[in-house]
Amino acid sequence: MDRNKVGVAEPYLPPPPLPSSEFALARLGGYWRALGVSDPDQIAALSEQALRRAAESPESPGLDAVARALVAAGELLDEWLARALDLPRSPPELAAARAALLSGAAPNWPAALFAAPGEADTVLDALRAARAEPVPAPSPGAMPAQRIELFGSLNSLRRLWRPQPRA
């Protein structure tokens, strides 16, 4: 990418095109392929689901219809992951599962997406193993700030004047 050619008059990201279902399908298709889905039928089915989901979702500020469809595509994936891996629906958990899915640990995951329950156990085991675990469970401890009695000529005089009682 030659960023020198990018100026204020020519935005870094091109302006959003007029929404059309062909364009949205093309972008969704590109996205699914980037995620690792190569079967055109699967791509079509997934894109259709994403479009339907986006249409049902409320308008989000700053996101056009195509961007909303792409967000919906991600949510579809997360939903499947949460169900298949029995995960809590917290964003970091889902992102970790999605990262495991896209890491290459289970290259045939698209097949598992369309498989009947119980037929994709190998893929799911691979995903569970590949899920990142960045930190262990907390085991907190207190670390109180220590008192350091700094030298000061006045402090010394004060000590002389009012010596502390011996313990």
Partner: protein
């Protein structure tokens, strides 16, 4: 968790009495000679200044000399009943649960490839011992650079996948780097410290052998009163001439010096900030650092936290030891003279802050001495400069003084008394104390055939020592001026304004050398001309200092040369055991750095910006999102700010954003998800960015 105070051990007390008595008597002897020179016609104010400066500087040299001498004695005899590794402790309970140890690597905008190659090497070496199960690894990132941040996450995940390290190799990036490195470690201790009995703290360029790590834990288990065990890191792996000379010096003299330090410090030793094992509970209880009242440089965060943590542990009755005879602990050093000075700049402020702590209540005498030694490692330079200036001025006035041969009722001339013998003795004593440790270290090679061969044989090692001495004579005045400048800048609260230190080998260009050393060269020329004109006799004594300054530019450039470093190695000069017989852990490091087959395909690409990749690449985006710590949703003002950044990115591209702005975008999950969708929703700007 405070330890009960133990009665002093006779052997420890005896060692300290011998050491400090020797240092004191030597200082008094040299001072006596100086006073005998000055006192004949009364001591002038200038001579008094010279005496005071000489007393401070000479006592500093004495401590260093007697440390080396005691180290020589210990290594030569091979007997040291007080070495912590050789002391017996209570028998271990065979059924007690095995301790868990966390290996911590705090990092800040470092070269991720090198960081993870090093950590992998340590992991591999530890796996070879069969003791991997007792250790966990933590990469504690304080990185602010957005590209480096994303790179770190990928490298971490790649390491986990490659070494099957899930649940054993951890990574976190702190949202705010409060209190720098000490805050980073505190964050670990307060969040996960409860899982572990010990932590081994590394630096970004630390390497440690697995056996050494296991041995450190074993020593801590045997000595429950020990809270901290420091190993002496040996400098390795650099190829420039400058670094190879320093590596040689560190390898040859370091062993003797650390043995000497342990001779008198014993259980009241110091902490050097890394390559050390710490018992976590006492660290939690006693090492929470307060902010010092007042403004910088003496107030605010405690910068050189390591000395203070050791002093706090000692204050609470815990022991701190230097395991000088534990091998397999390594670090990398700055590759050039200029990078070395940059590192000094970072350390200088923290060490000067210790002046305030040395006079604080509650610390024991040796902790105060450690603080003062920290201060002196930088304050010595301006003091030497003052001493040289005062000597020059005094010599100038001496030349103006007309000798009077006839006075009073003397009919015969009264010849001025010559003190050449006394002055030469003072000079020779000082030079002996400075250079004899190098000869002693060389003599130790005669005892150990393996070590002698590893340093290239006696002849090559002797030649290397001679050249290293010449090099240190030439660079000492340059470092003196650098450190004087740093001390003054810190005291005047002025920024010196240098770019970050470069850790990898690289050559110093003429421009960089001229810009950095130009003023020093000029000072050398002017001082030389003035002394030659007004105090010619002084000029000849002054030549080693002048030469170092006048040659600063070529010495800095030539010593940064990697080709000269290689040539010296071919000639068998400045060889170290780590070069001639590299330990397996260093082989692992070299292999990891050369390896070009990461598990994660995304690491095989070298995109212009990992920041952009975190926005566009679905995997990198998801991994980054999964590693973000939970946080409150942004407030209205913050949302507007992020909105503005999104528009700026859309219109002007990523290069228009500053690093902190990019970091802000990367830190907010909602913004990241939105940007990811925005990128994929547009037709590709060009083929490079989206499929």
């Amino acid at each position: 968790m405070t330890q009960t105070v133990q009665p002093p051990i006779m052997g420890h007390t005896l060692r300290r009495v011998v050491f400090f008595l020797l240092a004191l008597l030597t200082t008094l002897g040299a001072m006596g000679l100086m006073v005998s020179v000055f006192q004949t016609d009364g001591i002038s104010p200038m001579e008094l200044i010279l005496l005071v400066l000489y007393a401070i500087l000479f006592s500093w040299i004495c401590i260093s000399f007697w440390t080396a001498f005691m180290g020589f004695f210990v290594v030569l005899t091979g007997r040291d009943r007080w070495a912590i590794s050789r002391q017996s402790g209570p028998a271990l309970d065979p059924v007690a649960p095995k301790p868990r140890t966390a290996i911590l690597m705090p990092i800040y905008n470092e070269d991720s490839e090198r960081v993870f190659a090093g950590l992998r090497a340590i992991h591999q070496s530890l796996a070879d011992t069969g003791q991997l199960g007792g250790f966990d690894f933590f990469v504690l990132s304080d990185t602010r650079d957005p590209d480096v941040w994303v790179e770190e996450e990928l490298r971490w995940q790649d390491m986990v996948r490659a070494l099957d390290g899930k649940g054993r190799i951890f990574y976190r990036n702190r949202p705010e780097n409060v209190s720098r490195k000490s805050g980073n470690l505190e964050d670990f201790c307060t969040r996960w410290g409860g899982h572990y009995r010990y932590m081994i703290v590394l630096d970004a360029d630390s390497i440690m052998k697995g056996e050494t790590l296991v041995e450190m834990v074993r020593i801590m288990e045997r000595h429950p009163r020990v809270a901290l065990l420091q190993t002496p890191p040996v400098p390795i792996n650099r190829e420039s001439l400058f670094a190879r000379i320093l590596q040689f010096a560190g390898s040859l003299y370091g062993r003797m010096f650390t043995a000497g330090l342990n001779y008198w410090q014993l259980g009241e030793s110091n902490y050097w900030g890394h390559n050390a094992i710490i018992r976590i509970q006492p660290f939690l209880d006693h090492c929470g650092l307060p902010k010092l009242p007042g403004r910088e440089p003496f107030g605010g965060d405690i910068l050189s936290h390591d000395f203070v943590e050791a002093a706090l542990l000692r204050r609470a009755g815990w022991e701190v030891w230097l395991a000088y005879d534990l091998e397999g602990s390594y670090e990398e050093i700055p590759p050039t003279l200029i990078d070395y000075a940059k590192r000094d700049r970072r350390w200088c402020q923290g060490n000067l802050q210790h002046l305030r702590l040395a006079l604080s209540g509650g610390f024991n005498a040796l902790s105060r001495l450690h603080f003062l030694m920290g201060v002196m490692s930088y304050a010595a330079s301006p003091l030497w400069l003052l001493f040289l200036l005062a000597t020059g001025i005094d010599a100038y006035f001496q030349t103006r003084h007309e000798p009077v041969y006839f006075f009073g009722e003397n009919w015969a001339p009264v010849w001025p008394v010559s003190f050449a013998v006394e002055m030469t003795t003072v000079l020779l004593v000082t030079l002996t104390m400075l250079f004899l440790p190098k000869v002693l270290a060389l003599l130790l090679l005669l005892k150990d055939g393996r070590l002698r061969r590893a340093h290239g044989g006696m002849l090559k090692a002797t030649l290397s020592v001679a050249l290293e001495t010449l090099f240190s004579v030439l660079t000492a005045p340059v470092l003196m001026l650098f450190q004087t400048k740093f001390v003054l800048a810190i005291l005047l609260r002025r920024a010196v304004g240098w770019p970050p230190q470069q850790r990898g080998d690289h050559m110093t260009s003429f421009r960089e050398a001229a810009l950095t050393h130009g003023v020093q060269t000029l000072i050398g020329i002017v001082a030389g001309a003035l002394s030659y004109r007004y105090v010619p006799a002084f000029f000849w004594w002054f030549i080693p200092v002048l030469l170092g300054l006048v040659l600063a530019i070529p010495v800095s450039m030539l010593s940064s040369s990697i080709a000269l470093g290689h040539r010296a190695r071919q000639l068998g000069l400045f060889l170290t055991p780590e070069e001639t017989e590299p330990p397996v852990v260093l082989d692992y490091l070299a292999e990891n750095l050369e390896e070009d087959e990461p598990v994660l395909p995304v690491l095989r690409e070298r995109p212009a910006s990992r920041f952009v990749q975190a926005l566009t690449d679905p995997y990198v985006n998801a991994l980054h999102l999964s590693l973000l710590p939970p946080r409150e949703p942004p407030g209205k003002r913050r949302r507007h700010y992020l909105e503005g950044l999104i528009h700026q990115l859309e219109e002007e591209g990523p290069d228009s954003l500053s690093a902190p702005q990019k970091r802000d975008l990367l830190s907010d999950p909602e913004t990241l998800t939105r940007l990811h969708a925005l990128f994929w929703s547009r037709p590709p700007a060009n083929a490079g960015i989206l499929p």
